[in-house]
């Protein structure tokens, strides 16, 4: 991570005799609270319909005064039965379901699920497809982090970054729409390839995006990183050490902010990520502020990867040359008997997978998204398991929030970057 020093301290009420700001100690644990002031504990129910819970999370909070003694999260308010539905669908039909799990990064979810299916079936995708999928993943990372920045800054009292972030999101939405026809539910990938190749204008527009997007990041950096209110509300809040982060199975920016340099793109590379030149930002303190810095820096790095991917985008087919997996083009299916039979069999019977199982993890914006398929030889999986990064990261919130103020709980909850569609599935 690029070194950034923070010079401003939290705004304080007045100056002392030497002209230094007076620091007001904030009681951070119940023990610091004056026992005279201690009364009975208060039980507060936050959610499931609350603008600061990022969806339908429900937190039951036990308070002593304003200090959080215990947080008991309740999830499942958006349980939609994805994994059960997956058992009734062909592998390609599962792709539209994945749009709707982590709906902040749909394209990256599409890539994750077909990587698992391809591993199960032993399919090698084409070089052009690999690069296009990298582009899809990194675009997803940017829009997901943009939502995170926008909503978190609203939670902590800054509205402007939300509008800036959503302007950039709209630009990526335009690109997604150009490529897939949909703003949000992209269903981009197919087993063995992609739904469609990118149009020519996409390349020029994405290049223009990569050149101008860092300006917005610089602007957000300028308005937040050294902002007294922002620093005061995020530093030393919700600290997790590296050992705790590993013990809680955290992944993604949450894990890296605690100082664990683990990124699947570097450590278990897929889609040829080992050939790209990018850095993995790692935090030191594991607090909300470091999580913000890690995510901000990841946006710069994703932008760098996008530029490299555009430079190297090879010509060639996007789909593997295997008529049992890839649908023949409509023109051939209508004129060629053999192509028509393949078309019919694939639509009616689906792509059959061999007996066995496969797990493929990818570095999603939220953390490690794992897709685990178990097949009994038919065209529908016996079991489709999503390893949900947001769900597992969220489980640590009780640990992080203990002893903080109620308003810090909002910052901590925001820093987890949850998306309830994926937490509850």
């Amino acid at each position: 991570m690029s070194p950034r020093t923070v010079e401003l301290s939290v705004a304080t009420p007045g100056l002392d005799a030497q002209g230094n700001p007076i620091r007001v100690p904030i009681p951070t644990s119940p023990a610091d609270v004056d026992p005279e002031l201690g009364g009975e504990h208060l039980l507060i129910n936050l959610g499931p319909q609350h603008p600061a819970t990022h969806g339908v999370l429900r937190l039951v909070v036990e308070l002593e005064g304003e200090t959080v003694v215990r947080v008991i999260p309740h999830v499942g308010y958006l349980h939609s039965g994805f994994e059960k539905l997956g058992e009734y669908r062909h592998y390609n039909q599962i792709v539209p379901l994945t749009d709707r799990t982590d709906y902040l990064a749909p394209m990256s979810n599409n890539v994750g699920v077909v990587l698992a299916a391809e591993k199960l079936m032993g399919i090698e995708i084409t070089p052009r497809c690999q690069v296009l999928r990298v582009i899809a993943c990194e675009m997803s990372r940017i829009i997901s982090h943009m939502v995170w920045l926008g909503t978190t800054s609203i939670d902590l009292g800054a509205f402007t970054p939300f509008l800036w972030a959503f302007q950039q999101r709209e630009r990526i939405y335009n690109l997604q729409e150009m490529w897939t026809g949909a703003r949000l539910t992209t269903s981009l990938t197919r087993v063995g390839g992609l739904m469609a190749d990118v149009p020519d204008k996409f390349i020029t527009d994405l290049r223009e995006f990569t050149q101008t997007f860092p300006d917005t990041l610089d602007e957000i950096d300028r308005v937040l990183t050294r902002n007294g209110v922002w620093v005061g509300r995020t530093q030393n809040i919700g600290v997790l050490t590296a050992a705790e982060a590993i013990n809680y199975s955290l992944s993604g920016p949450m894990l890296r902010a605690s100082g664990v340099p683990w990124d699947l793109r570097k450590d278990k590379p897929y889609l040829g990520y080992e050939t790209y030149d990018f850095d993995v930002p790692v935090g030191e303190n594991g607090d909300v502020y470091d999580r913000f810095l890690v995510r901000l820096e990841e946006c710069y790095q994703s932008n760098k990867i996008l530029a490299q991917a555009l430079d190297r985008l090879p010509e060639g087919p996007i789909n593997v040359d295997d008529p049992r997996v890839i649908l023949p083009p409509k023109s051939r299916a209508m004129n060629d008997m053999e192509a028509m039979i393949y078309h019919f069999k694939q639509v009616m019977e689906g792509v059959k997978a061999p007996v066995g199982e496969a797990y493929a993890g990818i570095e999603n914006p939220k953390g490690e998204l794992g897709n685990y398929f178990v097949s009994d030889g038919t065209a529908k999986p016996v079991r489709w398991r999503i390893r949900p990064p947001a769900f597992i990261n969220l489980a640590s919130i009780s640990k992080m929030a203990e002893g903080h103020l109620l308003s810090d709980l909002i910052a901590i909850n925001a820093s987890v970057d949850i998306v309830m569609g994926e937490v509850d599935r």
């Binding site: 504990h41 039980l43 008991i72 499942g76 199975s249 450590d267 199982e357």
Partner: protein, 205 residues
């Protein structure tokens, strides 16, 4: 083949069943009685130590004769090696495996989810409650193969049960006991809580 598989066989002998190596992934079948020892050994003693728990889940096959499997995905961050541990359980017998929450805190919610979706009990879990479905959900375990896709009840019955869950059904026993609020509950409600009768549904038989 992951070298830890041989190390496991050497250490635990016949508690280790077959070892499958396919698609670059190593799966080790372990007997249910020994699985906790195996997981603890892998975390604390083995070289490399499997310090990171990726996931816990279960698999039930369409073939009713095949056992139900509980799966632990382990990873060693230092050596980037993955290992998958499986336990086979008879779906008609008692579904119980030991909990590993004291080894990995991250297993807490994952085990609750497996309990919620498959009905597998994790003995020694500190707070084994349903997590995704609500606590008084009466239709069963959704990811079991004998569970129909649209649930067991009619749609109107499902709507009725959902709309008529008693308010205290939304809180866990633990929460109701917080901050003396338990004592302030009406006597009738306290009585029902003590009996474990959490949320009666009005107009139900």
């Amino acid at each position: 083949m992951n070298p830890s598989a041989q190390a496991l066989q050497a250490t635990f002998g016949n508690a280790i069943g077959r070892v499958v190596d396919a698609r670059g992934e190593t799966i080790v079948y372990v007997s249910a009685a020994k699985v906790r020892d195996v997981l603890a050994w892998l975390k604390n003693t083995a070289a490399p130590g499997y310090d990171y728990l990726v996931d816990v889940t279960a698999v039930e096959y369409r073939d009713r004769e095949r056992p139900l499997e509980v799966v632990w995905f382990l990873r060693s961050l230092a050596s980037t090696q993955d290992l998958r541990i499986k336990v086979e359980l008879d779906p008609r017998g008692e579904l119980a495996v030991p909990s590993v929450v004291d080894l990995w805190a991250g297993a807490n919610w994952l085990e609750r989810e497996v309990y919620d979706m498959f009905g597998v009990t994790f003995t020694g879990h500190p707070d084994l409650r349903r997590i995704l479905m609500w606590e008084t959900y009466a239709e069963g375990y959704p990811l079991r193969k004998d569970f129909p896709l649209r649930g067991r009840f009619s749609r109107s019955e499902q709507v009725r049960q959902a709309l008529n869950v008693n308010p205290e059904g939304h809180y866990s026993m633990e929460e109701l006991a917080i901050a003396e609020s338990y004592d302030e509950l009406p006597a009738e409600m306290r009585d029902r809580l003590a009996r474990g009768d959490r949320a009666r549904i009005p107009n139900s038989e």
